[in-house]
């Protein structure tokens, strides 16, 4: 990458992420002092964000007595897998996990499709009422969930649709944020010429969307997919309200039961927390570039 920046030093943005062009030989020592402070600050922040997670990880391998007895030890003095085996043998952990992953997967697939459709409609067509419809869509971001919590619960239960698979998925598959994100990305990265060409070839509009537009959206579809998976996988309040059957508990509900039990079963909750978080963190690390850039790309342009 340094080769690329060396050959194009004049491009304003390309040098942002690159090593500094060395053209200030004077004052380097002052800069270095500033640099040391900067790195020190960033490393301290790193510790603030990572240490709590590492302590939870280490705690999950400590014998129950040590979790409370030696909270300051990051490396456990004795390592045990007992917490994990206790959790997995005494609690339906994999059932919670399966429920969470299943619900999140279905919700993600559907919502990515719905958002891409609507994003495309807003990005590439002119139509009557577009501005008003867009404003309506966008302003739904400002509706606090607390206002629909009670009536949505009542309506779904009364109509018999309060089953976990319906209630945890269907009301959440059209997030306005996702549509906004898609719309921004499509405006920037799908050229009109390609759509023209597809039309001239006789493709229907929907066919064009499926076979021409969707493939071009792959990076931001990935970002949106990670985002909506996380939303669903981590959601707590709505499952807490709507899921009454213990057999359909999601991970957060299961952990909450353990966590709020009389003896604060911390030795069971910790391994559960680790097992719940590690897959998400791995997926996030694998898809981090897509997610972080996809998330911010829309907001930058406003």
């Amino acid at each position: 990458m340094s080769a690329a920046t060396v050959t194009s030093p004049a491009r304003p943005n390309s040098s942002v992420g690159a090593p500094p062009p060395r053209r200030r030989p004077r004052g380097t020592s002052r800069l270095t002092a500033g640099r040391v402070a900067l790195y020190a600050l960033l490393v301290v922040l790193l510790a603030v964000f990572v240490l709590p997670l590492l302590f939870a990880l280490s705690g999950s391998f400590k014998p129950r007595a040590d979790i409370f007895g030696e909270p300051l030890r990051l490396i456990p003095s004795s390592v045990t897998l007992e917490n994990y085996t206790n959790l997995l043998s005494s609690q339906p952990f994999w059932s919670w996990f399966g429920m969470s992953v299943g619900v999140a997967t279905v919700a993600t697939v559907v919502s990515v499709f719905v958002c891409a459709l609507a994003g495309f409609g807003f990005a590439k067509y002119r139509f009557r009422g577009k501005q008003a419809l867009f404003t309506v869509m966008f302003s739904s971001l400002a509706v606090p969930f607390a206002v629909i919590l009670v009536p949505l619960f009542v309506l779904l239960v009364k109509t018999g649709l309060g089953t976990p698979w319906f209630a945890l998925v269907v009301p959440w598959v059209a997030p306005a944020f996702g549509i906004f994100m898609m719309q921004q990305y499509i405006v920037q990265s799908v050229p009109d010429e390609i759509l023209e060409a597809a039309r001239i070839d006789g493709c229907s509009e929907f066919r064009t969307f499926l076979s021409v537009v969707l493939p071009l959206l792959r990076p931001s579809l990935g970002a949106l997919a990670v985002w909506s998976f996380l939303q669903s996988y981590n959601s707590f309040l709505w499952p807490l309200v709507i899921v009454s059957d213990v057999n359909h508990y999601t991970l957060p509900l299961g952990l909450n039961i353990l966590f709020s039990s009389e003896n604060r079963a911390i030795d069971l909750v910790l391994p559960g927390a680790v097992l719940a978080s590690v897959p998400m963190i791995i997926v996030f690390l694998l898809l981090r570039k897509q997610l972080l850039e996809g998330l911010s790309a829309g907001a930058v342009k406003g």
Partner: protein, 318 residues
């Protein structure tokens, strides 16, 4: 190298694919083309009406009734609203939610801007490592975050008090059981969980500011502070607007963190408005009362965010 990925995402996207003159959009006359956009956005609006408009209307109706969840709701007019205004718990919850909003907008947002500014330093190494790691708390489930912090902040066995005692001989602080400390703890967890997330938006915004603007400011003799206020802040206004509005909305309806960390306690000292709604409906079977509290929260959040949108000019169709 890793820092390549962090170079101005939008610029990369635009540079790669948008052909010159693509901005001029064409309208095609055929009937199918005219119908198409409506069909594309129809699924969203169908879901929107069913799961947002209908519930909001139902909330307005429920809020005018007294209902325990069984039988028919009794129409009581505006009595729920009157009772809410005289309910000290409601005002406590409103005050706490106000505090969470304040923390989000006045503390979390500026902190993430500062962190983004630090991460945007020229030639910074390991930028991607920092950026990604700071984001991780957002990936972790709130229940896991709450459990970790309730362990760390435990008065007797917690890491924080153990450390304070070992290092400075300080007596234990009741992080989660003293009213003021409990509010501070919830606020800290909010900061911890959100700041890396918001940093991403600011960093992308900062990276999109053309370098020439800074060079011009430097030539005009502007120092770092001055070029921050005259170049950076105006240039990142759209991102700032987006970040302020979304964190306002999320903080105003905060539920998970106080519910899981303190259960709203001690007493009601960390109770939020969303928790008030939840408690009224699902612990006390006062569905009408809960709906009325929800409607008030909705009116407040919606009005303020529309004002913010208008003032900061976001949310226009491209």
């Amino acid at each position: 190298m890793s820092s390549l990925a962090s170079a101005a995402p939008t610029a990369v996207i635009r540079g790669r694919t948008a052909p010159p003159g693509a901005a001029a959009r064409r309208t095609l006359p055929s009937a199918a083309t005219q119908r198409a956009p409506y069909l594309f956005i129809a699924p969203f609006y169908l879901l929107y009406v069913l799961f947002m408009i209908v519930p909001i209307v139902a909330a307005l109706f429920l809020s005018l009734t007294s209902w325990v969840g069984l039988g028919t709701p009794d129409f009581v007019g505006l009595r729920n609203y009157g009772n809410l205004l005289g309910d000290s718990s409601f005002w406590t919850a409103a005050g706490n939610s106000g505090l969470y909003v304040l923390v989000a907008v006045v503390l979390v947002v500026p902190c993430s801007l500062l962190i983004a500014q630090a991460l945007n330093a020229r030639g910074l190494r390991a930028r991607d490592l920092f950026r990604v790691t700071y984001f991780v708390p957002m990936v972790v489930s709130p229940i896991v975050v709450a459990l970790i912090f309730s362990m760390l902040l435990d008065t007797e066995y917690g890491l924080v008090n153990s450390f304070l005692h070992a290092a400075f001989g300080l007596p234990g602080v009741d992080w989660l059981t003293d009213p003021s400390w409990a509010r501070a703890s919830v606020s800290f967890v909010l900061l911890w969980r959100w700041v890396g997330y918001l940093t991403i938006f600011f960093l992308a915004g900062l990276q999109a500011v053309p370098r020439e603007l800074y060079e011009a400011a430097e030539l005009d003799g502007a120092g770092p502070v001055r070029s921050f206020t005259t170049v950076t802040l105006p240039a990142i206004k759209p991102v700032t607007a987006f970040v302020v509005v979304t964190s306002f909305i999320s903080a105003a309806q905060l539920f998970d963190e106080p519910y899981l960390l303190t259960g709203g306690g001690p007493g009601e000292s960390t109770l939020s408005l969303a928790m008030f709604v939840y408690r009224a409906a699902f612990e006390r079977q006062q569905f009408g009362y809960a709906a009325a509290a929800g409607v008030l929260l909705f009116v407040l959040v919606f009005a303020v965010s529309q004002l913010l949108n208008r003032a900061l000019q976001i949310g226009r169709a491209a």
